[in-house]
């Protein structure tokens, strides 16, 4: 088996207690290793907070990256807008030129 190029890891941190509640932070990281050199890239981001109640019930609160979502939505809108502009304003092909 070869060495993995991309490693994904989801891990929980130290619990934080407040009142009767206990919070478990959860993060996900992606690690990309460069085969020819030491080093690479690590992208680490929070994914959720698990809240444990006094009766032991657990509820996961997702941590949403609003900036990233807005960026993706805006860039997709830009690509769609560019394509629509091209479709709406494109000139019909000249049949006479085609015959030549």
């Amino acid at each position: 088996m070869g060495k993995k190029f991309i490693i994904q890891q989801t891990s929980a941190g130290e619990p934080v207690g407040i009142g009767n509640l206990t919070l478990y932070p959860v993060a996900r990281s992606y690690r990309i290793d460069v085969p020819a050199a030491r080093g690479g890239l690590i992208w680490n981001h929070p994914t959720a907070v698990i809240v444990e109640g006094p009766d032991g019930t657990r509820q996961a609160l997702a941590i949403v990256d609003q900036t990233r979502r807005l960026q993706i939505v805006i860039l997709i809108a830009g690509i769609v807008g560019t394509l629509l502009t091209w479709i709406i304003y494109r000139k019909p092909r000249n049949p006479a030129k085609k015959e030549q």
Partner: protein, 152 residues
């Protein structure tokens, strides 16, 4: 006859090993970037509430190191005008690296005895930059499609 001996000094080995140790310790720090503690900050007590800041981290790092060792024997030849003979050894090495850390706040976790809520943090600058980029694409295509033919 005096022998010419040029061997690897201890200082050369120490420097090479120190470079490798530095790279290993920096690599360990690099791998720590994947831990949970790096994206969840220390809880801040505000009255009965605890506020936990969260952030996204992107760490890019690269290293390289190398070394070499060589030795050679020199023997006197009759026709050689150099009367010296002996052995020579040498060692050399070096390393280098670079990296960058990008960090951005993502959300704030507000915990109180009554409950927990997550407040997202929107980076207006990044959103505005994305909007300008998208608008630039559309405007560029509009101008390209509506302008007349080029005159020579």
């Amino acid at each position: 006859m005096e022998k010419i001996v040029k061997g690897p000094g201890n200082a050369d080995f120490v420097n090479l090993h120190q470079t490798l140790d530095d790279i290993n310790s920096t690599m360990e720090s690099f791998l720590e970037a994947a831990s949970v503690d790096k994206v969840f900050g220390k809880p801040v007590d505000v009255g009965e509430m605890k506020i936990i800041p969260t952030s996204e981290n992107l760490v890019i790092m690269g290293f390289g190191a190398g070394g070499g060792y060589g030795s050679a024997d020199f023997e006197k030849e009759e026709k050689d005008s150099d009367p010296g003979e002996g052995t020579g050894e040498g060692v050399g090495g070096g390393g280098g690296g670079g990296g960058r850390i990008l960090s951005r706040p993502v959300a704030i976790v507000i915990a109180s005895p009554e409950g927990v809520r997550v407040e997202p943090v929107a980076d207006r600058t990044k959103v505005i930059m994305a909007a300008i980029t998208a608008a630039g694409f559309v405007a560029g295509m509009f101008l390209r499609m509506t302008r007349g033919p080029k005159s020579i």
